[in-house]
Symmetry: C2
Subunit: 231 residues, 2 copies
């Protein structure tokens, strides 16, 4: 796969299951950065409503469009998946052919209600590894964005939570790190896809901290790196 | 187990495999806080040398003693385990009877050289869960301290890395959080023992960040909690 070529040509970001707060928050950030955004949904009506909402945050024209998930997957240069874990496998199987040769950024956290503060991974090891198994080696699966509070994305404010990025190949991780920077966020290369268990599982720990310490959006920052993230 | 009683009576902290930088760093911090510390080793000579080194950081009298690991395990109210993963199982089996009814704080990270930046957990799910399997239900296993840079413990400086604590029972976690505070560190209750995969695995991610970004001691801080940790 010509990943190097893609770096220069990413223009369209498709967000599957993008009508939730995660999808709208990311759509807002990347539309602000000038990307063409496609919000995908099972319902074109819901996708259109999300588009109207995201556009409503802007005074200027931005490129945000609504499509059904499969069409969105076909249209995107990079595909973001923001669905509940219960819809993870079915969604991926339905867009498997459209995703071949592309980067799939999996935002899914495999929470198992009601014990959402307990780390419980699927047999593949993590949701992102499950995605890789379903999609095959022709798709570059990257894991990111699980730990941020999405409400905060829909503001112009800085987000007090870094983003750990792991996935299939350094080139794919670099592309996603570029998108993270474009969204006004700080990201870190967290290594191979096997490391996604840490990133996904951290969400359960943060939910537990929120509950125990009476806060709404605990997060993490990487320390001891000086200005390294600005390189 | 009368965990409540223990909270009031923890006086002696035994650090098994305590002659490395992790053990000496923790010994220094807790000796400074007034606890009686026992540094355990397979070699009484090495343990004694570590005691001399730790005492050398103080101008005042502190309680730091050397013992063989088994004697240390018997003497401690709380037991800290700081050994390489390759020695983890053998060490735990050798002190299993001494640990019954106590808290074992497992600091072990199951790194698999040479791919130490790749999260690779043992069949039990994590080193701490393996410890629980080996020791049985009569020992309260708590996982903590894997992510800090130990060189920094041997100074009076603040450590720019929070400590996530997970383990068997909230009462045991609370005791360890008290010890963390006594060591001048900030700790967070990270839930049940199953969550240790995140805490242990985070070490691989931080090693990877150190390598990629050319720093020596990256760490993490929990954000979005305001002054919650001071409660």
């Amino acid at each position: 796969m010509m990943v190097g070529d893609e770096i220069k040509t990413i223009q369209t970001i498709a967000i599957l299951g993008g009508t939730g707060k995660e999808g709208k928050g990311l759509a807002f950030r990347w539309a602000r950065a000038g990307y063409r955004i496609i919000i995908g949904s099972r319902s074109l009506e819901k996708a259109s409503a999300a588009v109207v909402e995201v556009k409503g945050y802007f005074d200027k024209a931005v490129q945000v469009e609504a499509m059904l998930n499969q069409a969105a997957a076909a249209a995107g240069d990079v595909i973001i998946l923001t669905v509940p874990f219960s819809a993870h496998r079915e969604m991926l199987e339905s867009v498997k052919s459209e995703l071949q040769g592309k980067i799939l950024v999996d935002v899914t956290v495999p929470l198992v209600p009601p014990r959402v503060t307990r780390v419980q991974m699927p047999p593949a090891g993590s949701a992102a590894q499950e995605a890789q198994q379903i999609l095959g080696e022709g798709v570059l699966v990257v894991s990111a964005f699980q730990n941020i509070s999405y409400e905060n994305l829909l503001t112009q404010e800085d987000i007090d939570c870094d983003i750990l990025v792991c996935g299939s190949g350094k080139a794919a991780r670099e592309i996603v790190l570029t998108l993270i920077k474009a969204a006004g966020l700080i990201g870190w290369d967290a290594g191979p896809l096997e490391n996604s268990v840490v990133i996904e599982g951290l969400t359960s720990i943060l939910i537990g901290i929120n509950k125990q310490y009476g806060v709404k959006s605990s997060g993490i920052k990487i320390t001891g790196v000086g200005g390294a993230e600005k390189k």
